[in-house]
Symmetry: D2
Subunit: 458 residues, 4 copies
């Protein structure tokens, strides 16, 4: 997963891109990149780690110009330092081109093979690189058409921001897998993965970019371009609502907090329990736990304290107890838990290892009964549309039955939100991509079906 | 304010000190230091910033030995990089001596003047340096007596951990201003500012070090030494419960979360209001807001989302809008707030500037009414016992009446917890230092009364 | 100008490349890069500054494999940090390709235009990038032929080392502008810009790579490939002998020290003078000054002491006296100079600013007469074959007559070595490129004639 | 060994101190420190490595004020990073005190024991720290007398520069072991270890500070203070002339280049040989080799090329051949050496390991005969007055006879300059410290005689 932002208009566009990335930091902490365009010339800076750490005032002052792109990278896939970081910046026959991409192409490897055969040179392993090659190789007369031709060849998930010279393009794949929102500034436009980025730069939320839509911003004007077509069944990723997006963002027309609250309420209806208190695994399941409490009437508690100073590279091998990685992040409030029948609400269960550690902490703190509630269905299938997930073998929900998982977690009861319950809790009848829960993959898995390795994605 | 930790016994004592500092990171993010003693030789490392950032594996492997001290520094006072950072390590006639100090001496400058007249050389401006000079100049026969003689000359607040050779000393001032707890390890002992540090190193909580008590740990044995006397009125700092300590810690015999919950309940009783929801300023007032909700029956909400990626050096001058520093840290969830009568609970009001920014954010998000509740009395007097506070002129509670503050914050109502209510909410009848609220200073303000400048403290 | 090195065979090829670069450090201090190939996979590291500074043990251990390339970069042209640094590493249809280049193509921009039109993406502005595109776009069946086809399209100066998978290629342009020598290791082969690199890795000098020759090293075997043809008039750069190469290297079949000694002797014959001592501008004109002394019988002295600690970024604006940059680098030995008639021998005169500063230092030190001798002809024309030189306007020899220069330098007499004298001093009759002195450009200046900007070169 | 510089008067004194250190960089590359005093307040910066690397413009701008001290550190003794680096800066009853020291006290440990008994705290192991304690503990009424009293207690070698508030003190020990020269600026004064530092800051050389002299500079005025007495036999270090000082400096009333030239001439007289050429080990024996050539008539050659890019931390264990450290630094010019009978002149022979490596390089390059000449007597005794030398066991001249050394070096003949010849070559009859050659120690070796460990020195 990644966060992207694009700005066109204000004098120091890169500063707004910086703030946008800061608001989107939860979408990727591995690397950050900003590219600013001045008079058609792109200046790029990419750094490992958080945007706050890598971009000081001196760095920002270099990034001049009224157009800027930003990217925060989640995955370590691809490795090799910053080679796979974004924005990607290249020079081609129509000028300097920069690109940021959130999503994962399902035909990247197939396209890459074809391009390589034709003599294209690849620097990175990230699939976004094929897009810039497709644009550069287009025989169309102008950048608008080159971009259109290139994007038409892509299958899978992409929310894209591209600059060619001083022009900014924004596009989403026909299925609309990954979010991208449009905001209005007094003196320009902002595009970002989530509305929380618009809030911080004080842009007014206008609307989502639509599935298959291609927009262009030039000289302050927003111009709709011929689109890529809208898929018959659009597929906005429901996992954004479950876990990924910030609760204060509006995603798929919903405030994330409200959706999670509803998941929690529905979960309480589906899996009621007698208990003394309910609490979250902070901060990702706060909303769901509060919803559970509201519906069930069981008092809401703050029973786990999260240490926010966890560094990225902390590994002291001598401390490698089974639960240490959990213990370094969470500490229980014994007085709240001791002697109680507790309900722990988590947003989702992927590998299950953190949950195991948490339950053992909670038991040590004296809980009489531990009831585990998950505000989404079992994760059973890998995501090919941009969410970093482990292989199917590592997914606890793919390997074990609910009862087996209950025993493994050592809890008195375990309840998952049903797929129907989850879909019913969000704006009714609208289609979503639920592939990780249901295994239903809508956009063709071209590479996978040809037996090609799946690429590093974002 | 600072956090301190001392370890004696385990093979890699410094690793436990590291973990202890990590758990105490909220007590100081400015600098971190660890000193490890092996065969009487002290190795020291001090770094700016967080302990996770400054101490990698290679650094930790250098810090060998079964005895270690750690310190996290809060204040930037004293400046000049690491000169004022701790542990302080010196060589004197009885060997290598290391010291960490939490608190603030009220006669530091007077002692310093005397020592300087006698030819003592000072490197730093931090008041802790006088303690090592007093120990080194003692004419007593052995370290135990030298430490005792030196500490007897100190007035004010000190929780101290000292190593001389491989021996570890722990002491608290007679008033007991600052916390210090003792924990048992399978193979040794840990002393730390808060119990959350004991939890992370899996030490068993034994008891607080008593006011005026001096302990010594040698060869695995805990030996009580002659004490400094217990003050007639002990003065544990109530601000630790209000704001400073972690909610999962036990301080002054109370779980901090429980105390704050009670503050919130009492606040609801003292300042009831008709409203649609109550929420906290995360994370410091979470417990109090929950208590307020429980007592008042007004639903608890999560209406402010905190960005935990705030860096230490973020200043982009062009963004310097009045509320920008608030905005970069908090974002409201509009859907929760819009059209509602809201109660905002904060733990305390010091300068009032952050609260002003927050209220303006909350109003922008569409709140119909904003009722501000503070889970402690007005802060009216500076602290001379170790809490970093602004000067009296900057304390909003010292300058303005409650009604004036209400207008300044632009809220519909404002209510502070009463001093009596606060004291009644914690274990009854026990004395506390409430100087910042009441102006009652128990330990003599020696330097201040002599017109000497107050030193950088910790 | 740049230095390049390639190694094939030994277990840790990158370590030998490192040593080779260290020996070639005088050919470029701006950036250093090493790429090592293991099982066809190339690992790359490029760092600003000296090779000693950028490549520590940890870095070297990453660079595994029996094949390695190295590059030291002289020019800051192209800017943008390391984007223009080498080795260039790309993936194309025949595997991973790495390239280092010393020289300057005269048709780079023309080729680039053509490639860009076809959709090629360029990352850097350095002309070497066109070569990798030409190889990748070749339709030939195998790497040998692809390399041959690509190199056949190049005009101008290139000494190239290329790896494709584990195969190492070496080539020189048909004119043989820039040096490249072949050395034998017990377990492999080394190619380098100068023999001093062979000395340090203890390789046995075998021979120069010939103009137009293409070699391939695979599995320890040296295989001659079809060449590019040898130019009718080969053009080894005489400026390598004048200034660039190290005196202990053998270049163009000559020990550089011997050639410079001869230049000095011939200079003494052409411009005799009555004087008390002769000295060099250390270290570049040591050999020439010694030759002058030997021929003239005037005693050789060490009158200027050079400070070798000069950093790359030293600019203290307040010190910006006219001669400060000279003064920080050289200090005269007053006792040697005072009251004497001195001969100063320099290797060449480009801008003339350093010489002016030196003369003023020497006069201040009390010289009675200053006779300036230059061991090469006036530099009058820019180099398009790889030597970084200022524009024609900045070349003092292009703007002023010898008498005008003498007055500008404020010396009692000035003598340049004649072109004929210079050519006569080296192995007789053999052609050289003397374009910077004579303006005779042999390889066609394709881009220049088409009015295209000349690219950053190396 | 170390280099020191002090400046009083000019507006940005620290910039001149910086330049002074740059000129004195050969006296120490381990660490550099500058302290600047403004209105009695001292600002300090100390960095590992070269002064050019550690002090950029931003750093220099912090170092404001008209008084400054600088220090370059040679030794790694004492270890522990910058703890032992200078200037030492402390606060004591008369204000802020800063100190730089070149030399080695022979009673440092005895004084330290006494100070520690009295309760003094030491941070570092460097012996200079005792001096600041002695000043701070003096009961005298004013800084002038405190400094005098403190220095009177010192035995051994010290050239000192001290600031107390804005006053600058300069002093040399009664024997005058280490150099210290005084220079005049248009707007102030400079003191430095060598005259080359005066040259670079364009100060006029005034005179040496005399043995036992104490000077004070205040408000632009140079004031002689009561001295420490001049020893009956002054002891200027002859090794400064042999090796340490820069050839363009004037030391002990001699231009170093001239002294070394004379050593070379006398060496030629004492140890004549039939040979084809003579050369130096650049750059330290350039002058001596030239003198040898002048006297003997054997042609002077440049046969060894030195690589000046050697980094400080270069250790690649796999390259650890016996001669590798020599090979990385020097490369022979084969054409000059091959088939010749050569004379190699070195300045001194300490351990002999480098010379062994050099001889083997020279033999490999084809020398027919190798005659080794050393322009000083055998080094047989350690220095206790400030030159870093190995223990007696490691001194080849202490362990082996001249014939044994000749065989060890594998040379055809070996000749050392005699002690008498050396003394005769410099200004006649004047006494020198020749302890490292003769074992005659003039200043009492107090600590050594009491069996105390000798301290880290400078």
């Amino acid at each position: 997963m990644c966060g992207i932002v694009g700005v066109s208009g204000p004098e120091h566009a890169a500063e707004l891109a910086f703030l946008g990335l800061y608001a989107l930091q939860h979408r990727g902490q591995e690397a950050a990149g900003i590219c600013a365009v001045e008079d058609g010339q792109a200046r790029l800076r990419r750094e490992d780690g958080l945007v706050m750490e890598g971009f000081d005032d001196a760095a920002m002052q270099e990034l001049r110009g009224r157009v800027a792109l930003g990217h925060t990278r989640y995955s370590t896939a691809g490795g090799e330092g910053l080679v796979n970081a974004q924005p990607i910046v290249v020079r081609y026959h129509s000028g300097e081109l920069a690109l940021v991409h959130n999503g994962n192409l399902t035909n990247a490897q197939s396209l890459r093979e074809e391009l390589v055969r034709e003599g294209a040179l690849f620097r990175a392993t990230v699939d976004s690189e094929v897009i810039v090659h497709l644009i550069a190789r287009s025989r169309r007369a102008n950048p608008d058409e080159q971009v259109h031709e290139a994007l038409s060849r892509l299958t899978g998930a992409f929310s894209l921001l591209i600059t060619i010279g001083d022009t900014l393009y924004a596009a989403r794949d026909p299925w609309g897998y990954r979010p991208l929102v449009l905001g209005r500034l007094p003196d320009g436009w902002v595009l970002a993965s989530e509305t929380c980025a618009l809030d911080l730069v004080r842009a007014e939320f206008v609307r989502e970019v639509e599935p298959g839509e291609v927009l262009k911003i030039q000289d302050g004007e927003l111009i709709p371009l011929p689109g890529l077509g809208r898929a018959a069944r659009v597929q906005p990723c429901i996992f954004e609502l479950v876990y990924f997006a910030r609760p204060d963002s509006k995603v798929w027309g919903e405030t994330v907090d409200r959706a999670r609250r509803e998941f929690g309420r529905q979960l309480a209806r589906e899996h009621p329990v007698e208990a003394d208190c309910v609490f979250s695994v902070p901060d990702s399941s706060n909303s769901a736990a509060l919803g559970f409490s509201e519906e069930s009437g069981i008092p809401f508690e703050l029973a786990l304290i999260r240490n926010h100073y966890v560094g990225r590279t902390f590994i002291h091998p001598t401390q490698a107890g089974r639960d240490f990685r959990v213990r370094i992040k969470y500490n229980p409030v014994r007085e709240v838990i001791e002697g109680k029948r507790v309900v722990v609400v988590d947003d989702s269960l992927v590998r299950g290892t953190t949950s195991q550690g948490l339950v053992s902490l909670i038991r040590e703190a004296g809980a009489k009964e531990v009831h585990f509630r998950v505000a989404s269905p079992p994760v059973r299938s890998p995501c090919f549309y941009g969410i970093d997930m482990p292989t199917r073998e590592e997914l606890i929900g793919a390997r074990l039955s609910v009862e087996e998982i209950r025993r493994k977690l050592d809890v008195d009861s375990l309840g998952y939100l049903s797929l129907e319950g989850m879909l019913g809790a969000v704006n009714g009848g609208r289609p979503f991509c639920t592939a990780c829960f249901s295994g239903d993959y809508e956009a063709p898995l071209v590479d996978l079906e040809r037996g090609l390795p799946v690429q590093a994605h974002c």
